[in-house]
């Protein structure tokens, strides 16, 4: 059952990867909650699979700036009924060097966690709602 699940999950995300970038961005966007509008750091890739009943996430973060940028992330885990599967996690800092891509490997806290939302806060945000203030 878990093999079928992991095959299905990677098929869905794999298909998303095969599509044109805007569609992929939309798939990833549905799994990420940005706190503010992160100016330089974005979640650019996402893969998930089940290993021994625990969800394993591989989250790629990209820095579009030439300088070091810091961001903070945590995961909201949800069970199959949509209820929180774990307590609020601690915020974890992440530093990316100029134009770096980093992949975070995240393991779910328990087998109850069947779905997730990545909550991401860039230290530097756009000042306007979606872009720089003119």
């Amino acid at each position: 059952m878990s093999t079928i699940r992991s095959v299905l999950l990677s098929a869905v995300l794999g298909m998303a990867l095969a599509l044109a970038p805007p569609a992929l961005a939309q798939t990833i966007a549905s799994k990420v909650d940005y706190v503010g509008t992160s100016r330089y750091l974005t979640v650019s890739g996402l893969k998930a699979r089940e290993v021994n009943g625990l969800l394993n996430l591989y989250v790629e973060i990209t820095n579009s700036d030439n300088d070091d940028q810091e961001g903070y992330y945590r995961i909201d885990w949800v069970d199959d009924a949509g209820f929180p599967a774990w307590e609020e996690e601690a915020w974890k800092p992440i530093v990316l060097h100029g134009n770096q891509k980093r992949t975070l490997q995240i393991i779910a806290p328990s087998r109850k966690a069947q779905d997730f939302k990545i909550v991401f806060s860039g230290e530097r945000n756009w000042s306007g709602p979606t872009g720089p203030r003119e």
């Binding site: 021994n52 625990l54 394993n56 996690e89 601690a90 800092p93 393991i107 806290p109």
Partner: protein, 199 residues
């Protein structure tokens, strides 16, 4: 004149009355204390902090849970000492307590009484079985405790470097799980943290 000033005072009082009637009183006893977010990233100083404790405990617990989930039966584990090899005061028990709590909540491992709690455990067992106060059928019997199959121990060390501008602190937390009977190390993981601040 007097009547005019009285009416002014009356107006001011009624206005104040109106304002206080609109404002909702809060369930607080006012003072200088502000409750913060216990999960926030703490950047007060570059010494070992709450964010370091939380991120170490989370990384270790998740890695251990992944290993525990891969075993045929839930392993019975005990936490031994985590040595503090840094020059700072770090409560390593706080880290291992959080790891144990998260693992118990995850349901991937069972924990046996550790050395620190053993005195309380034996006191309670002795009281129940030997004091003669407890009903025989409900009293806990001596000689039935389960021995741990695995022992978790580790250490935290740090490297501190300073120059005229910058202080850089690097922490390395290492943890390993040893099979008690065979003496083999079945799992090991490390967490590295770097904190830099102006000198």
């Amino acid at each position: 004149m007097k009547i005019a000033s009285v009416s002014k005072v009356a107006m001011a009082l009624s206005l104040a009355g109106l304002l206080t009637a609109c404002a909702n009183s809060r369930p607080t006893v006012d003072g200088d204390v502000h409750y913060g977010d216990a999960k926030a990233v703490e950047k007060v100083t570059n010494e070992f902090g709450s964010t370091d404790l939380q991120s170490i405990a989370e990384t270790m617990a998740r890695s251990l849970a992944q290993t525990g989930a891969g075993m045929r039966t839930k392993p019975l584990v005990t936490i031994a000492e985590v040595k503090n090899k840094t020059s700072e005061y770090i409560d390593t028990r706080a880290i291992t307590d959080t790891i144990r709590t998260q693992l118990l909540k995850s349901g991937t491992m069972r924990f046996a009484t550790d050395i620190a709690s053993m005195q309380n455990q034996t006191d309670e067992l002795t009281r129940q079985s030997s004091s003669g106060l407890y009903k025989g059928s409900t009293a806990a019997k001596i000689g039935k405790m389960e021995g741990a199959q695995y022992r978790i121990e580790g250490s935290i060390s740090s490297i501190v470097k300073r120059n005229s501008d910058v202080k850089d602190v690097y922490y390395k937390f290492s943890l390993m799980m040893t099979n008690v009977e065979a003496g083999t190390i079945e799992w090991a993981d490390e967490k590295e943290i770097r904190k830099t601040s102006p000198r």
